[in-house]
Symmetry: C2
Subunit: 326 residues, 2 copies
C-alpha cells in the first residue's frame, strides 16, 4: 500500500506519518489490514527527521499539476490531503488561499479522476465552513455558511469531494477538524493560533497574548486524538458513510475561561498569570463567527472519539511533548 | 449604465434583454433609475433578432479569460450571469459542466475583482443545490447537499459569489430558480425538460413523453415571472440582503398530476391525451432528488413573487407565445 500525505512536513502531517510508520499497516477497503510499503510526504519544504526506508520526501508546489502527477500514481491507494493555507493568511492573501485551498484540492481530485484508480482520500476541513445565523447546536447537516475566504474554500473543496465520490472518481472522506490544541512549536497565522498559545507559552515560562474575551467558546481537539480520527476516518467502511462524506469530529466545547481554569488545575496559578488579555477585534470577529457547541453523534456512532475534558487535553500535550511545566 | 447578459442568446437571456430594452432603465445602487446605454449579449452563438442600437452581440467562450475581459470593463455596472450547462448535460459530460458552470463563473468574478469596480452581479442558481435527506419544506437556509454535478457546480458558484460579495469585489445576488415552465421551443438536455414538454407539445397538437410518475412534485415558475424576479433581484437594496445573498424564488409546488389537471382545465381532455407516460429511471432519479415544497418567505418579504396557480402559468404561456391550442 502506497500512502501520500500532502502537507507532509507540517505539524499534523509529520505526526500522522510517525503514527502510520509505527502502525505499519492500514485497513484496506475490504476491512483487511494491508502493509504500508511506501509513504510519500509532499510539502513545499522537505519533510525531515525520518530515517525510515518507506518514507519518500517530495518537495513541490501542490497547485502544480506536474507535482501531483509525480506523487499520485495508480498504486497510491490512500491520500491524506492536509496541505492548506490557514484562515488568517487566506483572509489576508486572497489569491494564495484560492490557489492552495481550492485549486490544489481540485487538482488533486482531478489527478485521481484521470488516473482512474479510485483511491481513498481523507480531506481535512474546518469549523470555518459554518457561520452567520447558526442554531445553538451545530449538527453534521447544518447548512454551510462560511464567513471567511478560508471557510469558503474549505466548503467548496467539501462539495467537490462529495461529487467526485458520488461519481466514483475517489472514495472521499471529509473530517471537519475542531481547532487543534495544544499545538507544539510557534504561533502561526491562523486566527485560532492563540488557542494553543495561551496554554503552550505559559507552560514554557513565557508570556502569551489572548486576543479574545474569556467567554469566547471554542471547539477543541488534541493533536493525539486528531491523528487517531484521521486514521479511523480513512479506515471507515464506505458503505457506512453513504453519500454525505463530511463528518464533524468530536471535539470538546469550552470557553476560554474554562481553558484557563483547566490550565490552573493542571499547572497552577503562577502559570496562568502569564496570560495577557489584549482583545483584537479582527481575531474576535473571525473566531466569533465559528460555532462553539456541536452535536457529533454521527462521528461517534462511526467510532470516532475525542477527549473528555480540556484538562485531559493539556495532560496529553505535556506527555506527548515531554514538557516540564515551569 | 452598461449591462452584460451571459447566455445572452439563450431563452432567458433573450427574453431578459427584450424586457430591459423595453424598460430602458434599471435602479442604480442608490435606488434611483439609470438609463441603460449599452446591453452586451455574450454567448457561444450570436444573439440575433435585435435591431436596437443599444445592443452589442458578442460571440465567445465564457470560460476564456480574454473573452470576459472584452465584455466586462469598468463601466459594466450590471451583470446577469445566466450562461450554464444544463443538469443532464453536466452529468453526462463532467469536464464541460465544470468548465462552464464552475470555471467560467469564477473567471467572471475574478475579472470583476481585478477590474475593481464592484458591479452588481445576478447569478442564477437552481433547486439542484439541494438533495439527500431534506426537511419536508425547504427553507432559504436549508443545507446545500447537491446530488448531481450540476448542483455541485451551482452550489460552489454560490459560495464564491457570497465570498466575493463579503470581500467587496462584487455586489452579488443569487436567485435559485424553480424549474422554468412553460419554456417555448424545443426540448433540451435538462433533466427537467419534460416539465415544459408535457404542456407545450400537447398544446401544439404533438405527442409528449412524460418520463416521471404523476406523483412527482416539481417547483415551477413561468418565464414571465422569472424575468420579473431577475430584474427585481438586481434592484434589491444591498443592505436589505445582508450577508447571505442566495434567495429561493417563489415558485409553485405542483405534482405532475396537478400540472396535467391544469392543462385539462385550460385546454381540455383531447390535449391531455397527447401525453405518453414512459418512466425513465435516470430522469426520475435526478428530478426525484430535488425538493418539491418550499418556504420562500424571505424572497416574498423582499418583494419577489411568482404565480398563484399552474393554470395561470399555462395561460401566461399561451398569451406570451401567442399559442392557439389545437
Amino acid at each position: 500500500m502506497k500512502v501520500l500525505i500532502t502537507g507532509g512536513a507540517g505539524f499534523l502531517g509529520q505526526r500522522l506519518a510517525r503514527e502510520l510508520l509505527a502502525r505499519g499497516e492500514l485497513k484496506g477497503p475490504d476491512g483487511q489490514p494491508q502493509k504500508i510499503t511506501e509513504l510519500v510526504l509532499l510539502d513545499v519544504v522537505a519533510a525531515s527527521g525520518f530515517s525510515d526506508s518507506r518514507v519518500r520526501a517530495e518537495v513541490g508546489d501542490i497547485a502544480e499539476r506536474s507535482v501531483l502527477e509525480r506523487v499520485i500514481d495508480e498504486r497510491t491507494s490512500v491520500i491524506f490531503h492536509l496541505a492548506a493555507i490557514v484562515s488568517g493568511q487566506a483572509e489576508a492573501d486572497f489569491e494564495l488561499g484560492m490557489r492552495i485551498n481550492l485549486d490544489a484540492s481540485r487538482l488533486l481530485l482531478e489527478t485521481c479522476r484521470l488516473r482512474g484508480h479510485r483511491p481513498r482520500v481523507v480531506f481535512t476541513s474546518s469549523v470555518a465552513v459554518y457561520g452567520g445565523d447558526m442554531p445553538d447546536v451545530v449538527r453534521n447537516d447544518t447548512a454551510l455558511n462560511p464567513q471567511s475566504s478560508y471557510g469558503t474554500q474549505k466548503a467548496i473543496a467539501e462539495l467537490l469531494l462529495n461529487d467526485y465520490t458520488r461519481r466514483g472518481f475517489v472514495d472521499g472522506r471529509v473530517l471537519r477538524l475542531p481547532t487543534i490544541s495544544v499545538r507544539p512549536g510557534k504561533p502561526n497565522a491562523a486566527a485560532s493560533s492563540f488557542a494553543s498559545g495561551i496554554i503552550r507559552e505559559p507552560l514554557n515560562g513565557e508570556a502569551a497574548v489572548c486576543p479574545v474575551t474569556g467567554g469566547t467558546r471554542l471547539w477543541l481537539l488534541s493533536p493525539r486524538q486528531a491523528i487517531a480520527c484521521l486514521i479511523a476516518g480513512l479506515e471507515l467502511d464506505a458503505a457506512a458513510l453513504g453519500h454525505q462524506r463530511a463528518l464533524n469530529l468530536p471535539g470538546i466545547s469550552v470557553s476560554v475561561d474554562e481553558m484557563v481554569a483547566a490550565l490552573r488545575e493542571v499547572a497552577g496559578e503562577a502559570v496562568v498569570k502569564r496570560i495577557q488579555w489584549q482583545p483584537d477585534p479582527r481575531i474576535e470577529k473571525i473566531v466569533g463567527s465559528w460555532p462553539g457547541r456541536w452535536d457529533t453523534t454521527r462521528a461517534e456512532q462511526l467510532g470516532l472519539s475525542g477527549e473528555k475534558s480540556f484538562a485531559d487535553v493539556i495532560r496529553s500535550y505535556i506527555e506527548d511533548e515531554h514538557i516540564q511545566p515551569v
